[in-house]
């Protein structure tokens, strides 16, 4: 006696064995399979025949996996495309760093401005730029997590801006503003790591495949 649910469960196992592990495409493929089975049965086929016909139209698991890999990986946090997961982890770090940075910088803005003549000081402009970089970091981080194309561009720009602000601490120290604490070097290292991850040859290959 043919058991449709068991047959679908076996088909799921075949897909899982082929590497389609992420829940999103598998759920979607199963939904499609069930609709096709229903359609075939409405046109007169028995359950077993409808199932066999439906899995043929779905295509082989290995070919599907290869296609999903070419599209930039399977969706979801458990997806096996490490570049997408790297981007998401990087995005989460940028969001966290952005908020942390913003909380410090908003306090500094009040300290460095105004100058005695009530005109914005150099320190104010530099801190304002840093606020811009932090905001861009938060926004870019969200875009990276969501996998939006603009995320890479925004984070690259924020990392370059962040790096370019690092040398400015020297004149700021000369003016005795003492804007940047020692952990600026950690942020500089983080900016460099980000740029390396986003522009490493392996990552570029992955983007080209998309």
């Amino acid at each position: 006696m043919f058991d449709l649910e068991k047959a679908i469960s076996d088909w799921r196992h075949q897909m899982l064995a082929a590497g389609i592990k992420s829940p999103v495409p598998l759920e979607e493929l199963e939904g499609h399979l069930r609709e096709e089975i229903e359609q075939q049965m409405q046109s007169g086929l028995a359950e077993a025949g409808a199932f066999r016909s439906a899995i043929q139209t779905m295509g082989q698991a290995s070919l599907l996996k290869a296609e999903f890999d070419q599209t930039g990986g399977l969706d979801g946090w458990s997806g096996n495309n490490r570049f997408i997961n790297t981007n998401r982890i990087l995005g989460a770090f940028w969001v966290a760093q952005g908020f942390w940075y913003l909380s410090d910088l908003s306090a500094l803005l009040g300290q460095v401005n105004p100058s005695p003549k009530n005109e914005p000081s150099w320190g104010f402009f530099i801190v304002a730029m840093a606020v811009g970089a932090a905001l861009a970091g938060v926004w870019g981080g969200v875009c990276l997590i969501r996998g939006t194309k603009s995320g890479r561009t925004i984070i690259s720009a924020a990392a370059i801006l962040g790096l370019s602000l690092c040398p400015l601490q020297i004149p700021l120290h000369l003016f005795n503003l003492n804007l940047f604490p020692a952990w600026i070097t950690i942020f500089a290292a983080f900016d460099l790591i980000t740029l390396w991850l986003l522009f490493s040859p392996k990552h570029r290959t992955s983007k080209a495949a998309q």
Partner: protein, 110 residues
């Protein structure tokens, strides 16, 4: 039957154009393409989903899960602004190919 290379090349513009009419889901997209081509454009059904996911990664379309009238969960896709731009480019390119082919065909019968 249309050759598989041409079927593959036409997938993105067809999906974009179908989604321009309103949001839809994988099974419905395939059925509509089959119906509109009198069954001559045959996709391997499963292969639609990598294409949809790629288009989502590109930011052309967005998706949401919702329940159908039968209670089944379906992933619905809708066109985004970048998708409309991509669709316009696809239409332009396919129109160019079509006009070149039509022109050449016309010359053969003159």
């Amino acid at each position: 039957m249309i050759r598989k290379e041409l079927v593959a090349a036409s997938a993105e513009p067809l999906i974009l154009s179908l989604l321009a009419k309103g949001e839809s889901y994988g099974y419905a997209i395939i059925q509509e393409v089959k119906a509109r081509s009198d069954g001559k454009l045959q996709w391997t059904d499963g292969m639609l989903y990598p294409v949809l996911h790629r288009m989502e990664h590109k930011g052309w379309i967005k998706s949401r899960w919702a329940e159908s009238e039968t209670g089944r969960k379906r992933k619905y896709y809708a066109l985004k602004r970048d998708g409309k731009t991509a669709m316009a480019k696809h239409h332009e390119q396919w129109s160019l190919v079509h006009s070149v082919l039509a022109g050449l065909q016309k010359e053969q019968y003159v």
